[in-house]
């Protein structure tokens, strides 16, 4: 009976690793078989914490191969995603793979991973905002043709995480800066909403990579602006949002609500999370994390592809590379 469960390992015991491990362990269809981290301190502590749970705690990625895993979650720092994911595929550790955002540090690495994906593999990247009820509602409004035609959009991603802290700013830059840490979510949402686009200019950038603004254009002329910053005053919690101008009105959406204004009728409608059935079987962090993991597990059980796949997510890495290269914007 135990073998019929999906056996999953989590690599990386930071806050995202523990969050996913907890949610995964809630699912009756899942056996959380292993936790892996290269830090000796974390492994030693975790071995004691989980000693009564039957979860293996290990420090060596290669040892996961002995555990007959069906899937692995990679929740390590972004710079290691490509190396770890490559090794998981090449060593045959597991067929199905979930990687926290962003898929890789560069588009070249992301593209290589897409090519390594085995046949009949379910692969997914942790762009969990797609599973938020507010962004889902906005997507529905767009799909239903409420707008007919979107003529332009503005997108933002703000936090105060690195406000006025130079040492922390350097940490942020080492992790890929505001684009990879925070902005990637809103880039993914814009790609989800509007389809592929290209960067046409970078209008503002900070040396440490904590703030960046840029413009994009779709092949049919639709233009959008992005403003991303981790040093924005008064953003206690990170927030992302988009506003879209259409032929019939505007849609504004963020983590908390969707607002639709139909210009001809002067009609205004607002939906908060409360109005959008935001409950889940198990809450941790935000409801979208549960839905995201549930989607991945169901896709494995049904042998179906799931989104956002590696291929879909690699487009975010492509846009980030374009922003960097447009103005020689490089993180060191």
């Amino acid at each position: 009976m135990e073998k019929e469960k999906i056996r999953i390992g989590v690599v990386g015991l930071g806050k995202m690793g523990l969050l996913h491990a907890s949610i995964l362990n809630f699912f009756p269809e899942v056996k959380l078989a292993a936790l892996c981290d290269k830090s000796g301190l974390m492994v030693r502590l975790a071995s004691k914490v989980f000693s009564r749970t039957g979860i293996n705690v290990i420090s060596d990625l290669e040892k996961l191969v002995d555990l007959d895993l069906d899937a692995v979650y990679v929740t390590t720092p972004i710079s290691s995603h490509s190396f770890i994911a490559r090794n998981i595929y090449k060593s045959g550790i597991a067929r199905h793979l979930f990687v926290e955002k962003t898929l890789a540090s560069t588009y070249a690495e992301a593209d290589e991973l897409c090519r390594l994906v085995p046949q009949e593999s379910v692969n997914m990247v942790g762009y969990m905002k797609r599973f938020s009820v507010t962004f889902g509602k906005a997507k529905d409004l767009l799909s239903q043709g409420t707008f007919e035609e979107v003529s332009s959009f503005k997108a933002y991603a703000y936090s105060s995480d690195f406000m006025g802290d130079n040492k922390a700013s350097r940490t942020s830059a080492a992790r890929g800066g505001a684009l990879r840490d925070l902005g990637c979510h809103v880039i993914d949402l814009a790609l989800w909403f509007f389809g592929d686009f290209k960067v046409i200019s970078v209008t503002n950038e900070s040396a440490a990579g904590n703030s960046v603004s840029f413009r994009v254009r779709r092949s049919d002329g639709l233009e959008g602006e992005f403003d991303i910053s981790q040093c924005k005053k008064d953003y206690r919690m990170p927030e992302i949002g988009l506003s879209m101008q259409g032929s019939k009105g505007t849609i504004e959406v963020n983590d908390d609500r969707v607002r639709l204004e139909e210009s001809n009728k002067g009609k205004l409608a607002t939906w908060y999370r409360h109005d959008l059935n935001d409950n889940v079987d198990f809450w941790l962090g935000e409801t979208e994390y549960f839905r995201e993991d549930q989607h991945f597990i169901k896709s494995i059980l049904k042998h179906k592809n799931c989104e956002p796949s590696f291929l879909t997510a690699s487009k975010v890495d492509f846009i980030i590379d374009q922003v960097r290269h447009t103005h020689g914007f490089e993180f060191k």
Partner: protein, 302 residues
């Protein structure tokens, strides 16, 4: 603690928190009360019918306690929540998990006397999770008590919902056993915040742990906001727990509901022992707790 219903003032508005929208939170943050003003708001609420203060243990709330200590004569019941997740998550974002662990270890070890330092070091060397938990809890209790003084009584220490719910899902029964044992020995009611109330109760029963001597703070509101997996399941679980101390939080669904509607809903729930409400103005402090007393006192009298 006596058997009176609990009407507790919460601290969310003082941190600029709004679960309805970040826009509202930012507006609140810009107008956020200073620690001294926040202390005045808590005292106004207490004069209007509140009988306790619940807060996350942070530099801000410890300052509020110090102002209240200067201003108030007489006893006050405190319900402290640990850890202050926001502070720890931001530190982890800025420095990584190892950076967070080092910073916390340094604070814990350096905060106590020689005895506490020795116990803390032993826990760090042996990596015994129960010892580490005890050391951490002792650290947080000492922070609260040194700021609050003797007039204020630490009734309960509540475990933050992220830690509670994570430990539930990961089947860390030892954590709950150690937590309950450590606090019960110190005559502090072991408390838990959870956003998964039915799951919490199910796990406690599965582990054969007693739910009658603990306090559970969990969302109850007419909108079903943050009541997982559903409003109906949460209400049913509450109905099956006559002897537990269950406190309703998020009663206004983060400002989505009118106070009268919120109170009417709570008044009809069985087995509830109290409620928590945050206040941002003196008028709100007076109105909220006067209304809560009038609507709920007889209904939830324990």
């Amino acid at each position: 603690m006596n058997d009176q219903p609990m009407f507790l003032v919460g601290d969310n508005p003082f941190h600029g928190i709004s679960h309805l929208s970040q826009e509202r939170a930012r507006a609140r943050g810009k107008k956020a009360a200073s620690p001294e003003e926040a202390a005045e708001l808590v005292l106004t609420a207490l004069q209007s019918g509140a009988n306790g203060f619940t807060f996350s243990v942070s530099d801000l709330t410890l300052s509020i306690l110090r102002f209240m200590r200067e201003r108030r004569s007489g006893k006050l019941d405190l319900y402290a929540m640990v850890p202050y997740a926001f502070e720890y998550v931001r530190t982890a974002t800025q420095t990584g998990t190892p950076g967070l662990a080092k910073r916390l270890a340094r604070q814990v070890v350096m905060s106590g006397g020689p005895g506490a330092i020795a116990i803390g070091l032993k826990a760090a060397i042996t990596m015994n999770p129960s010892d580490l938990l005890s050391t951490y809890l002792a650290y947080e209790i000492s922070r609260v008590r040194s700021s609050a003084g003797r007039e204020m009584n630490l009734v309960s220490l509540l475990l933050n919902e992220v830690v509670t719910d994570m430990a539930l899902a990961l089947n860390l029964d030892w954590l709950f056993e150690s937590y309950v044992r450590f606090l019960s020995r110190r005559s502090i009611i072991p408390g838990f915040n959870t956003r998964n109330f039915p799951f919490f109760v199910r796990k406690f029963r599965e582990w054969d742990m007693d739910t009658s001597h603990i306090l559970v703070a969990t969302p109850f509101n007419k909108a079903g906001f943050q009541m997982n997996p559903s409003k109906q399941e949460c209400e049913k679980t509450l109905g099956d727990l006559p002897s537990s101390i269950v406190l309703a939080i998020s009663i206004l669904a983060a400002g989505y509901l009118q106070p009268t509607v919120a109170m009417e809903y709570l008044a009809n729930l069985p087995n509830l022992k109290g409620m928590v409400a945050g206040v941002s103005t003196e008028q709100q402090a007076r109105e909220t707790f006067t209304r809560a007393r009038a609507s709920l006192y007889k209904k939830i009298n324990r």
